[in-house]
């Protein structure tokens, strides 16, 4: 009964979404206030029924209802409850349900926090989101219904969740990632609404900014969680593999980052409008491309769901309709008139443009590398398949990020319209000298070796950090105390500096881990040990342990630091009963400046085991940086500007907008 209720809710949500597509849009065209005002209750209704549907599937999982095919394939009666719940999104159908639920959440959020928005814009925005909801609900109902049942010959037990996914990472990674992915649909819908209404102005950019920041912050955390999960769950000690599925989550992030910066220019200076709209369309299009690549099996990947060309066909059709028509609309309606504001070569506008070019080129490089196997095969035939690995991506991507970090430092001090070169020189010369000096001296003293790549990384990170510090000190120096000065700074400014600081932290983490990690794969008998630096890893042997739905070989590795007891690590190798799959569970000692990573390999008879022991300096900083970036994004959303009761219009078109209906400050991040 409950699964039928879930299915029925899906159908109701589909009906409401169809109405959302038609009525408010028709209202916006005919200027019918009543029709437009239906957009809010319809979005609420869709959200309620999607949440109900999701709850029904979760109920089926928690109660081991194996008559539901999807539950039978992705759960097992022995699975702990928290994983039963997370298994709701452990396969194709359920993760699609989560995708649409999150889309419904975003459109509900737009309807809640839109008191400032003119009704016709709101109606169009929600209608566009309705189109996406309709498309994906249709896809789900026709090809991937999670509520399909087998009522005769119901399986006695389920096939179990993929062991890789039985982890805390699965519980949190996909929801965050989808919040980010799908969140770009809001910026997309705003862009389409602006193109449709012809009101592509500063107000549009201001409405879009907090939503873009929110989606971007979620995506930053989602990607970081995925990377961290791979690090401790896959047992290779790697944290990024340039796998197609990682790439498709990274591309919307890169374009989203470009969009955040481009929106700033459009809001403040009213230029780059067409470019900003294109980025908003591109960010969400890349999210759709991600959904396609993960779910169609078109590229081989460790993450891909079950391969099904039919689903791929439907998704391709959705992409054709949604992206194709928006790009057509773009070609017809995007403004070609140059923005009226003027700026010079060393203005902030230009530095942000350079930022955009670098990020878009980086995205294009990642896209090319991801799709290259397909391009190659289309040209040279099936027999000559190639796979593109980390060497390509690192060669192209790393220098671009270096350049980005360099421009970031200069951009911090640049001003709108024009910045004199002399001023930039005066601001930056000391920072350049200081970052060069410390950046070269510190790594050489600490490691007593001259590693040029590591030095470049440290110099660039210090370059960013010093310019942030100098800028903040300059901006607070006119107040009596530093704290008072800080309080006077706007939250969006502090958010920006936090995010930039996060970038420096991530650069350090990525580069120092890559260059200074020590990795050993050794064969150890009980009592034997391996020494890395001041740490000694003593292998005490492995014993068999019983888990709820698996049994594990658990090794005990006693770690000594400078000859004294430090910590005991217990890496595991698990055999899951239902699927017979083997899964490693790394034993890690997390530290701010270094991780000690151990993973258990194969037994080699006579009680000895192959043990993987890594010493990874600064690896935590990779994800710490992402946290700073996300925090910066959230901080910027809370800026008062976005909560102002009236729209302060700086263009003629918006002056006719009646926007003072707001009763209290509303537009805050729903994080």
């Amino acid at each position: 009964m409950i699964p039928e209720l879930g299915n029925f809710s899906l159908i109701l949500a589909f009906c409401l979404a169809s109405l959302l597509v038609i009525i408010p849009m028709a209202g916006a065209i005919t200027n019918n206030q009543l029709w437009m005002s239906l957009s809010r209750p319809l979005s609420t209704g869709i959200w309620v029924f999607m949440a109900l549907s999701f709850a029904c599937l979760a109920y089926a999982f928690l109660n081991d209802d194996f008559s539901v095919n999807y539950v039978a394939r992705n759960s097992n009666s022995l699975l702990p409850d928290r994983y039963k719940f997370a298994a709701v999104w452990g396969g194709h159908e359920g993760s699609l349900l989560l995708w649409v639920l999150i889309l419904a959440c975003w459109s509900y959020a737009v309807s809640l926090f839109s008191k400032n928005l003119p009704m016709d814009i709101l109606a169009r925005v929600l209608s566009v989101m309705g189109i996406i909801i309709v498309a994906f609900l249709l896809f789900m109902l026709l090809t991937s219904n999670p509520f399909e049942r087998t009522l005769l010959n119901t399986p006695l037990d389920g096939g179990d969740l993929n062991p890789l996914l039985q982890d805390f990472g699965l519980i949190v990674h996909p929801p965050f990632l989808y919040m980010g992915y799908v969140g770009f649909s809001v910026a997309f819908a705003f862009a389409i609404a602006a193109l449709l209404s012809g009101r592509l102005d500063a107000a549009w950019a201001r409405w879009t900014r907090p939503w873009t920041n929110a989606a971007w912050a979620f995506l930053s955390i989602g990607i970081a969680l995925g990377s961290w999960w791979a690090y401790y769950e896959l047992g290779w000690g790697g944290w990024w593999f340039w796998d197609p599925v990682e790439n498709v989550s990274f591309m919307p992030w890169l374009v989203g980052t470009a969009l955040i910066h481009s929106l700033a220019v459009t809001e403040k200076r009213g230029v780059f409008k067409s470019w900003t709209v294109l980025l908003a369309i591109a960010a969400f299009s890349l999210s759709l491309l991600g959904a396609f690549i993960v779910r169609s099996g078109v590229l081989t990947s460790v993450h891909a769901f079950a391969v099904d060309p039919e689903r791929g066909m439907v998704l391709l059709t959705i992409m054709l309709i949604v992206i194709g028509s928006s790009l057509l609309l773009y070609a017809i309606r995007a403004p070609v008139v140059k923005g009226s504001a003027s700026y010079t070569l060393t203005s902030r506008e230009v530095f942000l443009l350079i930022n955009n070019i670098i990020l878009v080129v980086a995205t294009a490089a990642v896209l090319l590398g991801t799709l290259y196997p397909l391009i190659h095969e289309a040209i040279y035939g099936e027999a000559n398949r190639v796979s593109i690995g980390p060497p390509y991506f690192n060669t192209v991507f790393v220098p671009l990020m270096g350049l980005l970090a360099f421009v970031l430092g200069i951009g911090t001090f640049s001003r709108w319209k024009r910045t004199s070169v002399a001023y930039l020189k005066q601001q930056l010369s000391k920072i350049l000298i200081a970052s060069l000096a410390f950046g070269i001296i510190i790594p050489v003293i600490v490691t007593s070796e001259f590693n040029i790549s590591a030095i470049v990384a440290v110099v660039l990170a210090l370059w960013i950090v010093f310019s942030i510090a100098k800028d903040i000190f300059d901006k607070t120096s006119n107040k009596e105390t530093f704290i008072k000065g800080l309080k006077a700074l706007s939250l969006s400014y502090l958010g920006m500096q936090f995010a930039h600081f996060g970038m420096a932290v991530t650069i350090l983490g990525v580069c120092l881990t890559s260059h200074y990690s020590v990795e050993r794969d050794v064969r150890l008998a009980p009592g034997e040990s391996e020494i890395i630096g001041s740490y000694e890893f003593v292998f005490e042997g492995a014993t068999l342990q019983q888990g709820p739905n698996y049994q594990a070989d658990r090794a005990v590795i006693q770690v000594l630091r400078n000859g004294e007891d430090y910590i005991t690590l217990e890496p595991e190798k698990r055999l899951y009963f239902a699927t017979g799959a083997v899964q490693t569970e790394a034993g890690i000692d997390v530290g701010l400046f270094r991780d000690l990573f151990t993973a258990l390999g194969d037994e080699r008879g006579d009680g000895s085991w192959v043990v993987r022991i890594h010493y990874k300096p600064f690896v935590l900083w990779i994800w710490l940086g992402a946290l700073f970036m996300a925090f910066g994004g959230v901080l910027a959303i809370t800026d008062k500007r976005y909560r102002s009761k009236k729209i302060i219009s700086d263009s003629k078109e918006t002056t006719k907008v009646k926007a003072n209906r707001s009763t209290k400050p509303e537009l805050v991040a729903q994080s």
Binding site: F292, M319, L327, L371, L374, V386
Partner: protein, 181 residues
Amino acid sequence: MNKRALLIIPGVFFMLMLGLLLFGLGRNPSMVPSALTNRPLPEFSLPSLNYGSIQDISQVSTEDLKGGISIINFWATWCPPCHIEHPYLVEISEREQELTFIGVNYKDDLDEARLFLEEKGSPFEKVIIDLNGRLGIDFGLAGAPETFIVDSAGIIRYRHVGVINHQIWEETFEPVISRIN
């Protein structure tokens, strides 16, 4: 140049990409590119398995595989898909007499492997024992079963991940083999 014409570029780019993805959907996804494709076999010398009437336990090395087209199949008794593909392999090996079928028993219990082949029949001329998965690493194995086509010069020409059945044999293996010939 008309500025509006420039705005069509993203659309054109998108349509090209869509065409590429459509092409990608139509192809066979279980054929995996291997870093080893069109490269020589990795050097190895490993013991072979004695079972049933075959009591020869001499070492098998890279050299032994040259001189004809061989099909190298990684399998194990612990791998359910290997049980599924086994009858097909037996049938195909009986039909394709000019090919040399070599099994690699991958990280397996040797007694169980013997029992398996004695009970179900063996498609293999020789079975190489890869007890610790060393050879699997050299072949870049993702899991069992995987099957490689090696030409007479000892060059790996094709890698297939997953189960082999009649359809897959006809649609992917036969074209590669006839091209080598």
